[in-house]
């Protein structure tokens, strides 16, 4: 009846029960609070069913923020084990659990925190920056989000029911095959990523179409803001490589479900093919995440330097060349497979070539500051932290790109330090800088600057303390993913320092939560107008809070820094408005996300009748979603005058 789902699926060890209980308590408390406040109808009508990219963006951000907390908690457990617990007789975290924790940490941080954060920015900012009211396919956008959310729920469900994969964030076979991982862990990994990944793929297509067909009049490609450019490159990568992930996960899933032999060790299966396929997706994935971060910095450095971006064309060219090169480097993830010197050298050289356009970008940011008036807001502190850590990461990246060196440090903690350098120093710092920068546009009030700066400093210092020791440990022969090591190696002191670093980062996170909470309490004092930083691009041309229709009149663009030019040319605010049609809310996104999650869940637990039932329901719902007749609602000119009139009083 319930496949392999039985009472044994519930956790029995104390830490997992504690995690599930506290996580479950928080979820229940929130649900109870919503019920008590009678907010369900509000949430459903205003948020869950909304096709407004701004609201979808906010929902992405909330999911990503919650997942960040879980990811950090996992990181704390990893370091606690390595720094202290493994060297004592306490057996709080056993090998099985440790391996699930680091696999969950990597999976969550990449798929749900970084991807979620990225889609939050894209949904919010891209339509506004190109002067569009909406995205190309609004319902598809909602479906993407709910698939992402479904993947997230499934991933976290593995805590309470069954287990999570212990095979690392990329689950190499044969370890992830049925022979070595017979439990539900790897299946959870496969199917939660599968549905979240399909969501990302659809988003990629959606935003490419949006940017290519819905730009404001006059905004040629070379007049697009650099953030939007970075999204073009990033979404092109998504469209090209996510199908590879879909195929790879499916084939691994088939090996486990119906006994195919793609990646098994017997009957001709080829595990090496998996490693090639997963990295053909996995390497571009890193650039999918970091290119938008580059875009964010390219927006805020000019604004806070009060100067145009230095070398716009260079920047666009650099983004594009990074995108193209990122397809040609995947083999550097397994030089030590011994593919032969010619192959290794080729991929080593293509890899280090990426350092060239990346270096150019750093120089261009510096020269944007040069001869400017640089205002060191907390966004700029994040930028400085990024510039330093990312350069260090670039240096270690070039080292790893040399196969001769990689043979010595591959899969050691040196490698771990390197990619955290790129992902925390690059992606995370970029996202936090962007969050602080665009927050007033999201909410109408600024985040408290003082607390923001403290948080940035804590993150930067914490990062260095947490990861510099790992470089040293790598040199001392410490490999990644160790849940225990010989005390005589003398590594413990360095692990303890690294653990302190994680705690400093944790303090940074606490400061950020405090910052948001405190700023919310003080939101009256921190209230700002719609363009608080004296911005340059079109998102700052909208009123704050941004109305559903974003732009009362679609802007006409004549220059790169479109809003800056409008302000300085004193463009008259138009007074004659027309009715605007915007997409009507619909619950189809929620239904499709939910049904996909049920399908995936029942596959994981081998509940075949439910697979068929929910699968058929999914097809029926998907078809009926295409049959909707009236998909838009009208905002009348009178309504717009009422809203825009208020804005004129509050802004000008």
């Amino acid at each position: 009846m319930f496949g392999r789902l039985s009472l044994d699926a519930f956790p029995t060890d104390i830490i997992t029960i504690g995690g599930v209980a506290s996580g479950g308590a928080v979820v229940l408390a929130i649900l109870a609070f919503i019920t008590y406040k009678k907010k369900w109808r509000y949430l459903w009508n205003e948020w869950f069913t909304s096709l407004d990219p701004k609201k979808i963006g906010t929902m992405y951000a909330i999911v990503a923020a919650i997942m960040l907390l879980r990811g950090v908690a996992d990181a704390v457990m990893i370091r606690a084990q390595q720094a202290v617990l493994s060297q004592t007789d306490l057996n709080l975290i056993d090998s099985d659990m440790f391996q699930q924790v680091f696999s969950a940490h990597g999976t969550i941080m990449i798929f749900f925190v970084a991807m979620g954060g990225m889609f939050a920015f894209i949904n919010w900012i891209v339509p506004l920056q190109i002067g569009a009211r909406d995205v190309a396919f609004p319902l598809l956008n909602s479906i993407s989000f709910w698939l992402f959310a479904g993947g997230m729920v499934l991933m976290n469900l593995s805590l309470a029911l069954g287990e999570f994969s212990g095979a690392g964030w990329l689950a190499y076979p044969p370890l992830s095959g049925l022979e070595y991982s017979p439990g539900t862990g790897v299946d959870y990994w496969i199917w939660s990523l599968q549905i979240a990944g399909v969501g990302s793929l659809l988003s990629g297509v959606n935003f490419l179409t949006t940017i290519f067909t819905m730009r404001a009049k006059g905004m040629t490609l070379m007049k697009m803001p650099v953030f939007t450019w970075s999204i073009v490159t990033s979404m092109l990568l998504v469209a090209f490589v996510f199908p590879i992930l879909t195929v790879t996960l499916t084939l691994l899933g088939l090996d486990r479900l119906i006994g195919t032999h793609f990646f098994t060790s017997d009957l001709g299966g080829n595990p090496m093919m998996y490693i090639n396929l997963i990295w053909a997706w996995g390497h571009p994935e890193v650039y999918i995440l970091v290119l938008p971060a580059f875009g964010i910095f390219s927006e805020l450095v000019p604004v806070f330097s009060r100067k145009k971006l230095f070398g716009y064309k260079s920047m666009v060219f650099a983004l594009s060349s990074i995108m193209l090169l990122s397809f040609m480097v995947w083999l550097h993830h397994f030089f030590t497979m011994g593919a032969g010197a010619n192959v290794n050298a080729f991929f080593g050289i293509t890899t280090m070539l990426i350092a060239v356009p990346t270096g150019v970008k750093v120089f261009n940011w510096i020269f944007t500051m040069w001869r400017g008036k640089v205002k060191f807001t907390s966004s700029m502190i994040w930028f400085m932290g990024f510039a330093i850590t990312f350069t260090i990461g670039g240096l270690t990246g070039v080292m790893l790109a040399v196969p001769g060196i990689d043979f010595q440090v591959h899969n050691s903690l040196f490698l771990v330090a390197h990619f955290h350098n790129m992902i925390i120093g690059g992606v995370v710092f970029g996202f936090f800088a962007g969050l602080t920068y665009w927050w007033p546009k999201f909410t109408g009030w600024k985040l408290h600057e003082g607390l923001g700066k403290i948080a940035a400093w804590l993150w930067i210092v914490g990062f260095l303390v947490a990861f510099l020791p790992l470089y040293a440990l790598g040199f001392m022969g410490a490999v990644r993913r160790l849940d225990d090591y010989d005390p005589s190696f003398g590594w413990q002191s360095l692990f303890i320092v690294a653990g302190i670093g994680v705690m400093i980062i944790g303090l940074g996170v606490v400061t950020q939560i405090t910052q948001i909470g405190y700023s919310w309490l003080k939101r009256k004092q921190l209230k700002v107008n719609s363009d608080p930083w004296d911005g340059r691009t079109l998102e700052w041309a909208t009123p704050t809070p941004v109305p559903d229709y974003s732009f009362a009149k679609l802007p006409i663009v004549s220059d790169r820094d479109a809003w800056w030019e409008m302000k300085h040319a004193k463009t008259k605010v138009p007074t004659k408005y027309e009715d605007i049609e915007i997409p009507k809310n619909t619950g189809y996104g929620v239904y499709i996300g939910l049904l996909s999650t049920i399908v995936a869940f029942s596959i994981i637990w081998h509940i075949w009748w439910l697979v068929i039932l929910s699968g058929v329901a999914l097809v029926v719902v998907a078809i009926s979603s295409t049959l909707r007749e009236k998909t838009e609602r009208v905002i009348t000119a009178a309504d717009i005058i009422a809203i825009e009139g208020k804005r004129q009083r509050s802004v000008l």
Partner: protein
């Protein structure tokens, strides 16, 4: 105004669909690559030349090609606003598509009966994944065509239905192209390898 909006929407939808087809191309590309890597790993099982029933495959190919032709005729009928003609050609398209699908299922059933299922070896896994994914697309296409027929019957040639019909034809052509690749690289090459 409304017409302008429709043109913009059509353009957007078509571009989006082309992009989706591109991602699907990559999906098939991966499956082709997988198949190419694994096709020799038969684990001692029979070679493809011994397994493939070429006349049957040829019949399959003809069925699919014909259905693509009728899908084209369906578009012509739509441009001329001939509703009955449109439905007839769409029906013929569905019939040939269904025939293709049935023949494919039959082929799979025969292979399994011969003891050559996807569990037999990596080569067979690769074969079933590639050809099966194409078959799954055909199934989706058939479903789409059926829904399209019903909607056009009920609501006539609305802008939305015209767009849908165009996209369906595009999708069907795409599947045809993929099949030509499968026919060439899987069946022709496979059958001649044994000689």
């Amino acid at each position: 105004m409304n017409k302008l909006k429709d043109t913009a929407l059509s353009y957007r939808t078509e571009l989006g669909f082309w992009m989706y087809l591109m991602t699907d191309c990559i999906l098939f590309g991966c499956l082709f690559a997988t198949y190419a890597v694994l096709r020799g790993s038969t684990a001692g099982g029979p070679s493809e030349a011994e397994l493939f029933d070429m006349p049957m495959v040829l019949a399959q190919t003809l069925a699919l090609l014909t259905s693509t032709l009728t899908a084209g005729l369906m578009l012509v009928a739509m441009h001329r606003k001939r509703s009955v003609e449109f439905k007839v050609w769409l029906g013929v398209t569905i019939a040939f598509g269904a025939a293709f699908f049935a023949m494919e299922l039959n082929e799979f059933a025969l292979l399994i009966a011969e003891g050559q299922s996807w569990q037999s070896s990596a080569a067979r896994s690769g074969f079933f994944a590639l050809v099966g994914t194409h078959g799954l697309h055909i199934l989706v296409g058939l479903l789409w065509a059926t829904v399209l027929a019903v909607v056009v019957h009920r609501r006539g040639f609305t802008q939305k239905n015209i767009r849908q019909a165009k996209l369906f034809a595009l999708f069907w052509h795409f599947l045809d192209v993929i099949w030509i690749f499968i026919f060439t690289f899987v069946y022709l090459v496979g059958a001649s390898n044994g000689i």
